[in-house]
């Protein structure tokens, strides 16, 4: 389907997810959607109204929802479960045992990832979800950064056969990618996109909410004469190996930027890739530093927890 998200303008990626669900509902008659009383936030409404037979309200029974999805998959359906990212661990043992181990075709969507969830506070700010999911074999992890990519990632996720975790976020973010952009998403191999290439001083690897901040930082640094490249990491598992290793090779160092604990997420994953491929480089981390945040506006939190544009710039400068 042709998309129509105005580039540069802010848009909620959950709406793009909801749009994609609706579209995919028409294309896959085996697609079913399960909710745990957060359908409003997850934008499952359009699908639910259009395909009421394939929509299931499980209420707040996250563990049950994940296993019922497994049941659907056993019968050849493509179930998608929906809740906040912070409540994914509510059923993560079930995800591990009943979905990942038998490698079932279940898609798990967690919205409100990261501290940018904001005012609701720590209980709603997922900063461990990626770390937990990465520990589980067979699990693909996708973390889009704008509406266009979210739409295409949702398509790719549904097309793929096997367990996938899709992480979304609460706030609006600018539309980064052109609507016609061809992502060539391959969830078996991993996907990253070079969005800036001012030069080879430092590479910024960003994901999700942080990507548009990384772009801002990169532009700002460029004005100061510091030449960075920005690679948007769509799949945290598997990582897009080649583009990362090349960046490590060609630049003086890598800054990873994620709205997640620096333990377990993109930062950790990149480190392990670099060392296991014998390609070490200077490293800096943007992310929440193994601590719990608090309530507040996303921008205020990002500043207080050193995850804002200025912090990205500072970490880049650390390397140089």
């Amino acid at each position: 389907m042709n998309l129509n998200y105005e580039q540069g303008k802010k848009f909620n990626i959950r709406n793009a997810y909801g749009d994609a669900l609706l579209d995919l509902g028409g294309r896959y008659d085996k697609l079913v959607v399960l909710d745990a009383d957060l359908g409003e936030s997850l934008r499952t409404g359009k699908f639910a109204r259009t395909y009421p037979d394939r929509y299931f309200q499980m209420s707040v029974s996250e563990a049950d929802m994940q296993c019922s999805a497994a049941g659907f998959a056993l019968e050849g359906f493509k179930p998608i479960t929906n809740t906040f990212a912070v409540f994914i661990p509510r059923g993560i043992e079930q995800i591990r045992q009943s979905i990942a181990f038998p490698n079932l075709d279940v898609k798990i969507v967690g919205s409100h990832g990261g501290i940018v969830t904001g005012e609701d506070g720590v209980s709603h700010q997922a900063i461990e979800d990626i770390g937990m999911m990465r520990s589980i074999p067979n699990m693909i992890i996708v973390c889009p950064s704008d509406a266009v990519q979210t739409y295409r990632a949702t398509e790719a996720m549904v097309e793929y056969e096997g367990p996938v975790y899709l992480r979304l976020m609460r706030p609006d973010v600018p539309v980064i990618y052109p609507n016609y952009f061809d992502f060539k998403i391959n969830l078996k191999r991993g996907n990253g996109y070079k969005l800036r290439e001012y030069g080879k001083d430092v590479a910024i690897l960003s994901t999700g909410y942080m990507t548009h901040l990384a772009l801002e930082a990169s532009d700002k640094l460029n004005e100061e004469g510091i030449k960075t490249e920005v690679i948007d990491i769509l799949t945290l598992k598997p990582l897009p190996k080649d583009i990362i290793l090349r960046a490590a090779d060609e630049t003086k160092g890598i800054v990873t930027a994620e709205d997640h604990n620096i333990i377990g997420g993109l930062g950790s994953a990149v480190d392990q890739l670099l060392l296991s491929e014998n390609c070490p480089t200077e490293r800096r981390y943007i992310g929440i530093k193994d601590t719990f945040a608090e309530s507040g506006k996303p921008e205020e939190l990002l500043e207080k927890y050193s995850m804002d544009v200025r912090s990205i710039c500072d970490r880049v400068k650390d390397i140089l």
Partner: protein
Amino acid sequence: MHSYSVNDLELELFATEVRMDVIDMLYKAGSGHTGGSLSCTDILVSLYHPKHGIMKHDPKNPKWEERDRFILSAGHKAPALYAILAKCGYFPREKLYTLRKINSILQGHVFTNTPGVEAQAGSLGQGLSIANGVTMALRLKKVDSMVYCLLGDGEINEGQIWEAAKNASYHKLGNVCAIIDHNGERIDGITWEIYPIRKKWEAFGWYVIGEEVKWTEDRKEMELDGHDYNFLTNAFKEAKERRNDNQPTAVIVNTIKSKGIPMMENVVGSHGRAPNKIEYEDGMRYLKEKAEKLKVKLYEFELRAG
């Protein structure tokens, strides 16, 4: 309206003022859960009211060992608890306007950094298990206090609630009183899926007070026990009196979501947001008028008594 006692009037005035604070702080915060905060206000007032509340507690000494404990399990109802704690004197009232702001002692969902808050909550379904742990600990310490725990009706969809229900009765936790705020709504709809409520708690070995009045379109026109201080006070008292009977008590309380903002009452979709300007003004006007009337009535009572 049924006939009022001075106690009722004092409780109702207190609750009306609490509701104004709740609406005010939510409106100023710009986000938060209006529906559930207002449905449970009268419950909390019946527990905490300085004169008529059922709970032993001391705002000057929040960690007083002999206090009754209150565990808010449905942590999104935080504004109601905050407003009441402030009114009781746990912390200065101005703090209410820092709700959900950075560096605040008032987190979006309850956290133990707030004076008077016993436990964190926000992820549904955990508070009753915590209440059980607290109660088992009190028993070991030989402190004979009550542990009240407030649950949402949507919240009891969580299986953990039934693990806790089973373990409370198995471990004979007579000091536990679970209160189910049955406003008949959760976020995406009506709580049809959890009916019958009373039979479930009974089957899990609890002594049950109250019975659910199933959600209807005209719920807001009904006089419900969850906004009746007589019912609430007697229920919480009865639970307390039964505390050495080795059986936990569940109180099912029928309420109206967003009670106090006529435009938002009983409206599915009013769950997880702050009132908008019109709703805010509507609610404040309604509550102010109500408070004025209550004050007049109280004055009349005093004159008569005087």
